[in-house]
């Protein structure tokens, strides 16, 4: 599995120091950061990096299809570099903890033809919600 920086360079995307720091921050994460969290962490390594660059860079990586933009909570967007393996998300309604999960079968099969309204359907994302062990125990 190639890392994000490698994938981006293979697409001959201009690799500036700022972009590298952002890509490495994203790729090293085991949780899905918000743009602000990425800015904060990137600024730890490159203090003069600007907010606009972080947003521009993230949006470009999303447009290239190398990073996924997640809208899990309706507040800030989160970014997920793991586009290689399709996965979905499981969120705790108590504490907001988020896990990547895999479904059995292909979600596209769950939508019958007569429910497609003539659309060419290309992808499906599923958000499962519930309570994690800690929050369930606390309630």
């Amino acid at each position: 599995m190639s890392d994000l920086v490698t994938r981006l360079r293979q697409r001959s995307w201009r690799m500036t120091p700022q972009r590298r720091v952002i890509a490495e921050t994203l790729d090293g994460a085991h949780v899905h950061y918000t743009a602000d969290e990425i800015l904060e962490r990137a600024a730890g390594r490159m203090p003069e990096i600007s907010r606009a660059t972080v947003y521009n860079t993230l949006n470009e990586m999303v447009a290239l299809g190398e990073v996924l933009e997640l809208n899990l909570d309706g507040r800030s967007k989160r970014y997920d570099p793991n586009v290689e393996h399709e996965h979905h998300h499981l969120i705790c309604e108590g504490c907001g903890a988020t896990k990547d999960v895999h479904t059995v079968g292909n979600p596209m099969d769950w939508l019958p033809g007569d429910e497609r309204h003539g659309f060419a359907v290309t992808r499906a994302s599923i958000t499962f919600r519930g309570l994690c062990r800690e929050c369930a125990a606390a309630s």
Copy 2:
């Protein structure tokens, strides 16, 4: 199928004129409005209604479980009064058009036990994306 105003009154929720206008606006819609669109339409019938009231009222209806809050595009939230029949959403990536859709089977079955991370999973929402007929033809 009872309408939203009736359901809310059955729960002995204080039905003020403002709340009635908001509930009726929501319930009469065949698309999912944003809070701002609801404010705009409610203000057509009751010009002095305030933005805070619209937000407060929508949030309370969501807390009561009588209205669903949707996060389909990552910009503004949309509100869906149709909580009686479980459904999911299909969105055109070209023009943003949104359709309610129904899946075959129960999405909860697609998440095996060993992918649940100890969570008590209670619900699943699926967002299908693709291109509507018009946008597919235009591209």
